[in-house]
Amino acid sequence: MNIYEQIAGNRRATWIIVSIFILFFLFAGLGFDVYYGAGVPVFTIIALLIGGISGYCSYHYGDKLILSSTHARPLDLNDPKQKQWQNVVEEMSIASGIPLPKTYIIDDPDPNAFATGRNPEHSSIVVTRGLLDTLNRDELQAVASHEMSHIRNFDIRLMLLIAVLVGSVALIADWARRGLFYRSERRSSRRGEGGGGAALIILAIWLITVILAPILSQIMAMFVSRRREYLADASGAELTRNPLALASALEKISARVEPTRSINQGTAHLCICDPKGSKMGLKEGWSADLFATHPPINKRIEALKHMAYVK
């Protein structure tokens, strides 16, 4: 898959995901309106508004939100190690031919890095102090190339939208569940509703959807995120022409098991390695695959070594 196919694929995925979420918001809102039977579809409008506003805000301000929530601050170029990081990022910007992203650092001893933003012109790369202390120059360059690929492929935009939409789905589902139980209590105390079997089935489907939506949207986010990691590894290696440096960087990062505390669950899928620690990253198999934000690190290292004809 070349870079243009990747970008086109990402654009498609962005649209599909946004449409699925819009449908869900419509579905959740409509169900409520039918159930409550108000003349105006108030809940549909509210649900669509929540989805629309959070989508818009995430597109324009999501990166700033993420940067401030992780306490990221601009690099101090007088520090030799930070200057070196700035240099490798600039090198990768030349190699990939995209504008130089803004660079930030987090004071966290655990090695990790992530990229965010809405397009290559508005993008940031964040690194933890631990990563700078753990890796040598070649490995830092490899990590920078991986993040640069996320930016170049527009992965950052897709991930930003997903993060916020998953959040608002959880919000609406929660809100719908509470309202529903409140309502049904009141209703059953009054009289047996003569809605018939069909209405009951539809209600049941709606209920199941609303309850399962947060989990399903999580799984979908994880699925999308995992596929992007292999691609970013591969196109990062294409930039540095040195897949082994990325492999050894991943080995060093995964050797440190502590979780990255300053990076919370919402930002996990942006990182180069799962910030929850190594537990998920090392496990293989179906259930681990379903809920992990990243593919097992062994598989990634294997794929990279394969690229360098070491095996």
């Binding site: 030799p80 070196q84 240099n87 600039e90 090198e91 030349i94 190699a95 120059r137 022409r241």
Partner: protein
């Protein structure tokens, strides 16, 4: 009816011509920009070298020969004309710099000098930037050349006189690389 169909086909052909022509122009400019980027990075290296030599001069009194060679190589590289000559001179300069850094390893007080290690990092980065700028140039020039050679774009490229871009030949430069001690650790 037939008139409309012919008109429609003509419109489609013209639109297609415009699109192909514009994409070729955009590629051509990316190639030019890629070439400029190499020059920018080479300039960065020329500017760094006098600084470095100035910094280590005092302590490396007994290595005058190496220092002179670095400066000479730099001046020759600046004045080199043509891609082939430039590549040869740049490689001699790279070799001279590597030798200088190998010698720095012998001077513990230089190695621990903050200014020296800063300059060393800058030069390593500049070497990489030059390499990546060339890599990017070659990639984009190859894309431009392929676009000019494949059907049906080649007809339009021929019509408007687009020319193939020259690639940066690494093999050519490698042959001219001087024999130096490469056993240095960054």
């Amino acid at each position: 009816m037939v008139g409309w169909i012919i008109l429609g086909v003509l419109v489609v052909i013209v639109l297609w011509l415009i699109a192909v022509f514009n994409s070729l122009i955009s590629l051509k400019n990316q190639v030019l920009n890629g070439w400029k980027q190499i020059d920018v990075q080479l300039k960065r290296r020329y500017d760094l070298i006098p600084n470095l030599v100035e910094t280590v001069k005092g302590i490396m009194k007994f290595e005058q020969e190496t220092l002179t060679r670095v400066i000479e190589a730099r001046n020759k590289a600046i004045s080199a004309q043509g891609i082939a000559d430039k590549a040869v001179q740049e490689n001699i300069l790279t070799g001279a710099l590597r030798q200088l850094f190998a010698l720095v390893e012998n001077y513990p007080n230089l190695k621990s000098n903050e200014n020296v290690s800063k300059l060393q990092e800058e030069l390593v980065s500049t070497e990489n930037r030059i390499g990546f700028a060339r890599q990017f140039y070659n990639d984009i020039a190859t894309k431009f050349n392929i676009a000019q050679q494949t059907f049906p774009t080649n007809m339009i490229a021929g019509m408007f006189g687009f020319k193939q871009s020259e690639l940066f030949e690494v093999a050519e430069a490698e042959k001219a690389a001087p024999k130096v001690d490469l056993n240095i650790n960054k």
